[in-house]
């Protein structure tokens, strides 16, 4: 399942990854007053993240708030300029490109935001919102814009007749569709979806999920899917990377991550997710309860960043940072960053 190669128009992207991220870092400086001067501290929002994305593939970035998953998404689309690291898109490093040189890549890498209410300009018609990127990238002849807008609206399941309406005339789910249409307008190869459904109601969420899946299947668009909802990620992604405090702690094919997670944090996340199969009073799955909160990214723990909340932590965890590497028991493509990694099964087996 994880190795599925989808039929893609472009032959270049058959084998090598479409998008390759290497050791990506984002350190935000913060100024704090100290005495008459100021000291500089650094928030290590993302600290050395690497992954690859093949054409048509979908990679899920999961983690709790502050783990750096959204920052990573913003760096890939270059809404943020990384402090260090490479973002190779079809072999070109776009990590430090100037705005002018970045233009053609902006078209290929689109982002869909979480909040459908604040990410659309309320004073522009839907037609305007969607056709702006078309005009910016000269993708459509004058006079043909409306046709293209209506085509896109239909594609995302909205009434093409509504192109003249304003965002506030649409519901949350419909607005998210508009956001998706805007991203689709420039025919991107990669869409970064940053929590695209977490602001939506359950029934609407499923509609948008299905739409994204159709787009992936029909248009061969690759997705970096950023979400905190493990169910949503399991549903949508072939590959999953679990992030904690700016680092990837475990990465691999979906079946492996959900079926045989090796990193204690992944195990804790999975076991904490409330599950439908449970009826109260009957503990159906092993419970791992983490204590405390995520430490501050300003001064992250030494060694393994998860060690302060980890029940397996020993001295080595404080001194040696475990590398993200395949473990002896791993199936191909599955890596974990833990000194004491061991697969745990049945964490999600409640209703399966």
């Amino acid at each position: 399942m994880s190795q599925t190669v989808r039929p893609i128009d472009e032959p270049a992207s058959q084998n090598e990854p479409l998008l390759q991220v290497r050791d990506l870092k984002m350190h935000f400086p913060i100024k704090e007053a100290a005495g008459l001067g100021r000291t500089k501290k650094v928030v290590q929002a993302v600290d050395g993240v690497s992954f690859g994305l093949k054409a048509g593939e979908s990679l899920g970035l999961v983690g709790e708030s502050g783990c750096g998953k959204s920052t990573t998404g913003r760096m890939i689309t270059r809404l943020l300029t990384p402090t260090a690291g490479q973002i190779l898109f079809k072999g070109t490093d776009i990590a430090q490109l100037k705005e002018r040189d970045l233009r053609p890549f902006r078209r290929e890498l689109q982002i869909v935001f979480q909040d459908p209410y604040s990410s659309l300009n309320p004073r522009q018609t839907v037609s305007n919102i969607i056709s702006t990127p078309l005009r910016v990238h000269n993708l459509v002849k004058k006079g043909k814009e409306l046709d293209r807008v209506q085509e896109l609206l239909e594609r995302v399941g909205l009434n093409p007749e509504h192109h003249n309406r304003y965002p506030n005339e649409f519901s949350g789910g419909q607005r998210q569709r508009i956001g998706i249409a805007r991203a689709l307008a420039v025919e991107p190869e990669v869409i970064i979806a940053d929590e695209p459904v977490s602001a939506l109601d359950v029934s609407i969420q499923a509609q948008v999920m299905n739409l994204l899946e159709d787009l992936r299947r029909d248009l061969g668009i690759a997705f970096v899917f950023i979400a905190h909802d493990l169910g949503v990620v399991r549903h949508f992604c072939d590959q999953v990377a679990v992030m904690y405090l700016g680092k990837i702690v475990e990465q691999g094919p979906r079946e492996q991550i959900y079926g045989a997670p090796q990193h204690p944090y992944t195990q804790a996340l999975l076991s904490a997710a409330p599950d439908l199969g449970t009826i109260r009073g009957v503990p159906p799955k092993e419970r791992i309860r983490l204590v405390g909160d995520v430490p501050s990214p300003i001064d992250p723990p030494s060694g393994c960043r998860f060690r302060t909340r980890c029940w397996k932590a020993e001295d080595i965890c404080a001194t040696h940072e475990p590398p993200l590497e395949p473990k002896p028991q791993s199936t191909p493509g599955h890596a974990a960053a833990c000194h004491f990694a061991e697969p745990k099964i049945d964490l999600t087996a409640a209703s399966a």
Partner: protein, 387 residues
């Protein structure tokens, strides 16, 4: 949990509710109170004597565009020591109905009819100065977003102290002792230091713990938790749900849990009430509703959720959008989105509002649907898709 002040609690509502003064010993009052004689209210799936009884509750807001019926003919009841989960999407009326239980609606802007009884005492129609005595004392509320629900300019400790002193005439020192106790109880480490910190110095999970401490400081009989974990991370959510469960075991209070997350429902609820467009569409024990649902909307919800455990199948979302509360469809409110309405003879789904009836002719599991063979449709068609 010594509570010297609760002896002279002034609240008449609570007194009559329990039939006697509250003492610390009463904290573990679950079974004792449940057997006590009280007015019998709406049917309750458990058959126990309920503490909160809501009957035929209707909440309407007059707006410029017309009358919005946010809640329509809602009835339910919750005994002490039990948790009722009210499930629904935004606009289903789940929050509005519980705000009514707290008496938090502005009477000038809201029309409330029906009955809400707490331990036998009517809430609907009570004047503000009487409602004040109930709020935060017999009934407490835990809100969704602890970030915005705590006052940013007062220390956490002060806010808890204030909550205690509203209902107890005690000195600040006594109240502070009580607040520290509560902070400790909800698992906040180092209460002494935390007491004098401001909400922005707390993490999300700690803030929600502080909210819970504040809610429980007066030892309420009913706790309304409105999406208490929606704003929290998964691992923290698990901690908070555990905490609520444990506190309920300890204090035996009734909990009304408002949520959109069926996973949370499965983990927390004894009873489940599903709301759609202001009406109850299915009501029963958690096992009934989640394992043997008898209403197409509930089926749709269950089929819409991508679960952690499920295989990668295509989701089957409910088509369309929830109706506008200004302009509800005739007949069953769900009929425009219902894939099963063709199976009901004639046009009943679009003309007659189905009643909330027992699914098997009798019993406490009720649903609002005209379908005849709900059980067989579920077993034959829906259940296999759920896996």
């Amino acid at each position: 949990m010594t509570d010297p002040a609760s002896e002279d609690r002034k609240d008449t509502m609570v007194e009559s509710a329990a039939g006697q003064a509250q003492t610390p010993a009463d904290a573990k009052r679950g079974p004792a109170v449940a057997t006590r004689e009280r007015r019998q209210g709406a049917a309750n799936p458990s058959g126990e004597t309920p503490y909160l009884v809501v009957e035929d509750l209707t909440v309407k807001f007059p707006t410029a565009d017309g009358l919005v019926s946010a809640v329509n003919g809602l009835s339910y009841s919750v005994p002490l020591g039990r948790t009722l989960a009210i499930v629904g999407e935004s606009g289903s009326g789940k929050s509005v109905s519980s705000m009514a239980v707290m008496g938090l609606h502005d009477p000038k802007r809201t029309k409330i009819t029906g009955s809400i009884r707490l331990g036998g005492d009517e809430i609907v129609g009570l004047p503000e100065n009487e409602l004040m005595k109930v709020r935060g004392d017999a009934v407490a509320m835990v809100f969704q977003d602890p970030q915005s629900s705590l006052h940013p300019l007062y220390t956490v400790g002060n806010q808890i102290v204030e909550a205690y002193r509203v209902h107890h005439q005690v000195s600040k020192d006594v109240a502070k002792k009580r607040a520290l106790e509560m902070l400790d109880l909800v698992g906040i480490p180092n209460p002494q230091r935390r007491f004098s910190q401001y909400p922005h110095e707390f993490s999300g999970g700690m803030r929600q713990r502080a909210m819970i401490a504040m809610g429980l400081v007066n030892d309420p009989k009913l706790v309304i938790a409105d999406e208490p974990t929606t704003a929290l991370d998964v691992t923290v959510q698990a901690q908070i749900l555990d905490l609520l469960n444990n506190l309920q075991k300890e204090f035996g209070s009734a909990i009304v849990l408002i949520t959109h997350d069926l996973g949370v429902v499965a983990e927390m609820a004894d009873d489940v009430l599903v709301m759609y467009a202001g009406r109850c569409v299915e009501y029963g024990t958690a096992e009934d509703v989640l394992a043997r649902p008898r209403m197409p909307y509930t089926w749709g919800l269950l089929e819409s959720i991508p679960t952690v455990s499920a295989a990668n199948e295509r989701l089957r979302p409910i088509k369309g959008l929830p109706p506008s509360l200004l302009n509800l469809p005739t007949g069953c409110s769900f009929n425009p989105r219902c894939p099963y309405k063709d199976r009901v003879k004639g046009e009943r789904c679009t003309t007659d509002l189905p009643e909330l009836l027992p699914v098997d002719g009798a019993g406490a599991h009720t649903s609002r649907c005209h379908l005849h063979d709900k059980a067989s449709i579920y077993e034959a068609e829906v259940a296999p898709r759920l896996g």
